[in-house]
Amino acid sequence: MRKAGRELKDELVLVGRWATYLQAQKLGNRALPSLDIDFTALKENFRAIEKHLLASNFVPIGFRYIKYYHETLDGRLREISLEESKKIPPHELRELFLDILWDEKISSMSFAHPYVEAIFEKELYDEIDGINVAFPEVILSMKFLIEKNKYRGQKQLKDLVDIYVLVLAPEELDFEVFELLYSREKFGLDWVIRYFRENEEFLASVVHGLGMMFDREEFLLVVDELKENLKR
């Protein structure tokens, strides 16, 4: 992730769980790490990005890029090619998934996201550790949008943890960023409140595990303030 993010710094902005992880770390909090890497990019840079990813041993499969590793008995990971991966027993094979959300679809399999253009146009990201990482407000808005009326099981619970970590980050959220993204595509917050209430105890145990405090009222007040702001 760091290698791709640094080498393609001008073309890629990190979003998703790793972005949450890095933003939380920057603010002195902790978050859950992830297996997948999610970036955003502009269609106009598709060729340059793909060329770089292919040269870095990523294999395009469907809408995602995959890199294969062979896990040896001592726990080390060795990068291998797609051909080599076919000869390795499944329990020794590890895969790294890299997904890119584009401003416009680049093929029928790819995904376009309504916020990508604004992320690049308004530079809604910070540089963390040499990688461009989306602002917490962007990560949150994307999560609010993905989750709209959709049950995604365990992944949704992890998203709830990410949302909690970012909403209660020590720095105040910039509501203007939310307003800007909301104007591009509206997201809902009612489900966040409902889902939060339904999973309160689970969430409390996870955030305690992360060394954070569980503050139900503060979370609900910030979400409510955001809701009120977006109504105006």
Binding site: E201, A204, H208, M213, F214, D215, E217, E218, L221
Partner: protein, 191 residues
Amino acid sequence: MKAPIVKEKILRELAFKGSTSVRELLAQFGVNRPYLYRILRSLESEGAIVLEMGKIRVVDKKSLIYVWGTEKRKIFRVVKGVTYKVRPKKVRDFVVFSGTSALWVLGKVLEPSFGTAYIKKEDFERLRQIGIKREGYPIKFYSYDEDVFYYVKSIRGYMLPPVEQIIADALGEGMYTRVIEELLEDVEWMM
């Protein structure tokens, strides 16, 4: 009924220090000798301390904290705190969270509602301004004991007193749960 505030100070000193002397307590709290001996003899009969030749040693901290909790109940019956609904992060710079509020900071309970917090008299106006908004959790604020501020530690950005005080305050609030038992076991183990 008079609130046993001085007695609480003596209990706190014993709980925090573990050993001291009659002479030190007399000098520190300006109480008369018969009153102090009454307190010490009753603690001795509870098995909480050993008193020998003017030297005091805590031998059962759990019992000592239970006595403190009982006294705390009496104090809370007499000294009426002020309840404000507040967002904890808005007041954490100038109040000490204890009892249930501190247990919440420590991740032992889900919310700090009806917990105890200590505030200096000079900060009451600040609290009132925050409390007017009526946002957050109802917390009971007390300003009768500013000594609490001498012992605080910062945990997760909140000022908390030592665990013995947190337990005594939680008992004073009327909280008797497994959480308290677990904390008491920890305190005993640390002795």
